[in-house]
């Protein structure tokens, strides 16, 4: 599903966010990217969603070499990927329903199909009763779940989450992780950037470790931190 081959990313000014990173994630996998802050976790996700382009190396997502995608193809590439952000990135001037419906409206679904899918996604994250609420009235955990509903409503094959539990208490964090696992169980590939070692240990899944932009191998799921 995702293959990095000798990928480097150097920002203007010489800062090297990723240095010669190679790894492979098969379809249907769930994995974490971990490392200290500034290790390159976010950059790695940005390269997958084409928010950034690598300086060197090759990124292949869903069989597509991203270097071959021009500017015009980027939106269509992003529609195949659900992205979840630490700061949720919700639109505060519209309801939960409208926030979640946005990817479907962009993709051109009709009103009936949109409503059906939005409610299904909200039901999945347990927020069906809040569809008419505005994001500002929701707790941090609820806002994050709205973000997840928006990421999955288009039924993407790949979910990316950048520090999805960064602002949540442990209990909320675990709820969010369980939602990710449920999606993974129905075949969605999930890649989560996180430095929450405790949570990663409880999930018992693949962990990719970054250190100062270098890939320093994996921690087997069984060798948990607990």
């Amino acid at each position: 599903m995702i293959r990095f081959t000798n990928v480097s990313k150097r920002y203007e000014g010489g800062y090297e966010a990723l240095n010669d990173v190679s790894f492979h994630l098969t379809p249907g996998e769930i994995a974490f990217v971990t490392g200290h802050s500034g290790a390159g976790k976010s950059t790695l996700l940005k390269l997958i969603a084409l928010l950034e382009r690598p300086t060197n190396g090759q990124v292949i997502v869903n069989g597509q070499n991203l270097a071959k995608l021009g500017r015009g193809a980027i939106p269509y590439h992003r529609r195949n990927i659900g992205v979840i952000f630490q700061d949720h990135r919700l639109l505060f001037d519209r309801t939960v329903f409208d926030n979640v419906a946005l990817p479907l409206i962009i993709a051109g679904y009709g009103p009936a199909e949109t409503a059906k899918r939005v409610r299904a996604a909200l039901d999945k994250v347990g927020l069906l009763s809040k569809e008419k609420a505005y994001p500002i009235t929701l707790s941090g955990g609820e806002q994050q779940r709205v973000g997840i509903a928006r990421a999955v409503v288009n039924r993407p094959a790949l979910l990316l989450a950048d520090e999805p539990t960064g602002n949540l208490d442990p209990e909320m964090s675990w709820e969010v992780m369980k939602i990710f696992r449920e999606f993974n169980e129905v075949g969605v590939t999930v890649l989560i950037a996180s430095h929450n070692i405790d949570l990663i240990g409880r999930m018992q899944s693949r962990v990719l470790r970054l250190d100062h932009g270098r890939y320093i191998g994996e921690i087997a799921a069984t060798r948990s931190f607990v």
């Binding site: 940005k46 969603a49 928010l51 950034e52 015009g72 939106p75 269509y76 590439h77 992003r78 529609r79 195949n80 992205v83 990135r89 919700l90 639109l91 001037d93 946005l102 990817p103 409206i105 962009i106 993709a107 051109g108 679904y109 009709g110 199909e113 928006r150 990421a151 999955v152 288009n154 039924r155 993407p156 094959a157 999606f183 129905v186 075949g187 969605v188």
Partner: protein, 338 residues
């Protein structure tokens, strides 16, 4: 729950999503659904932007008012010019020469002259107005009827109104004819009546050009006003643009609502201009009517006709669209998620 990836592929094909660039357009159904989506998108943006604008009525009205006033000025001048042309339109075409005959020329002498004049190729027709007829007309039109009654005798000369053929427009030719007529013994004064109308026409052609220049300048102003308003709208919705780009919105999708807002501003401005012009004409109507009465004329102001109204609304919409298009082209590219 079934495999979401399978579902995704299935619905893709159903939706005729343009993502699948090679596949989606193969079936006829795919094309028609994609076209349907296209129109749905536009219809949604069209209505949604109207809703957005109506939620900020004051700000929207300010912009629309500026555009409306800018469009009303050239439109109003155009209407006035049109009315002026209509007013003098009756004299359009052939020139005419008035021959004031010497006193003592009786009607039979005058008729002889008429017959002679008819032989000249430049002359289309000749009307004889006897002193009595002239006096009647003067009494009727001037309002000095009672004062005229005090006169012992008719002071007015007989007049021959000579209408030239329509194709006689060469000033040199007309001047030569005028000279010939002046030399005739029966004629006291020969006067080319249409000279001033021609000058008026020349003047109006100049004013017309002026209106065009004014319209161009104010059109440019509308373009800038809409451009600036849309620029501010883009800046205030920066977060929204970033988020929609993040979840796969195309540039066209993001551009669309701004373009429609611009078009709405323009159409709204055009509508306001229409109302302003009609209102101004309504205010002018009574004084113009009074003035026309003084000239014994039934002239009434004409308002904007359907064609001009359509041009005003459509032109406003186009200017708005163009203005927002310029702003969107300049400012939307700078906003990229990171």
């Amino acid at each position: 729950m079934s495999d979401p990836r399978m579902n995704r592929h299935k619905t893709r094909r159903e939706q005729g999503d343009t993502t699948v660039r090679s596949g989606a357009s193969t079936g006829r159904g795919g094309v028609s659904v994609a076209l349907g989506n296209f129109f749905t998108h536009h219809a949604q943006a069209f209505i949604a932007t109207l809703g957005q604008l109506s939620r900020r009525p004051f700000a929207t009205f300010m912009t629309v008012a500026v555009i409306g006033i800018a469009l009303a000025m050239p439109a109003g001048l155009y209407v006035l010019l049109n009315n002026a042309q209509r007013m003098i339109g009756n004299w359009e075409g052939a020139s005419q020469i008035s021959l004031f005959l010497k006193t003592g020329i009786n009607e039979s002498r005058a008729q002889q002259l008429v017959e002679q004049l008819h032989r000249r190729p430049e002359i289309a027709a000749t009307d004889y107005i006897s002193p009595d007829n002239a006096l009647d007309e003067f009494r009727r039109l001037s309002g000095f009827g009672e004062a005229l009654g005090a006169l012992d005798e008719n002071p007015l000369p007989a007049v021959l109104v000579v209408r030239l053929k329509k194709d006689v427009t060469d000033p040199v030719q007309i001047e030569r004819l005028l000279e010939d007529l002046r030399k005739r013994s029966e004629v006291d004064i020969a006067q080319l009546d249409m000279q001033w109308v021609k000058r008026l026409y020349a003047l109006m052609a100049m004013v017309q050009r002026g209106v065009l220049v004014l319209a161009s300048l104010l059109g440019l102003a509308v373009l800038l006003v809409v451009g600036n308003t849309i620029r501010l709208a883009i800046q205030s919705r920066r977060d929204e643009i970033v988020i929609t780009k993040l979840i796969g919105a195309t540039d066209a999708f993001i551009r669309r609502p701004f373009l429609y807002s611009g078009a709405w501003y323009g159409i709204g401005g055009g509508l306001l201009a229409l109302i302003l012009v009609q209102l101004s004409l309504y205010i002018l109507q009574q004084p113009v009517h009074n003035l026309a009465l003084l000239y014994n004329s039934s002239f009434a102001l004409y308002g904007l006709d359907l064609r001009t109204s359509t041009i005003l609304l459509g032109g406003g919409g186009l200017l708005g669209l163009l203005g927002s298009w310029l702003a969107v082209g300049r400012h939307l590219k700078d906003i990229e998620p990171n």
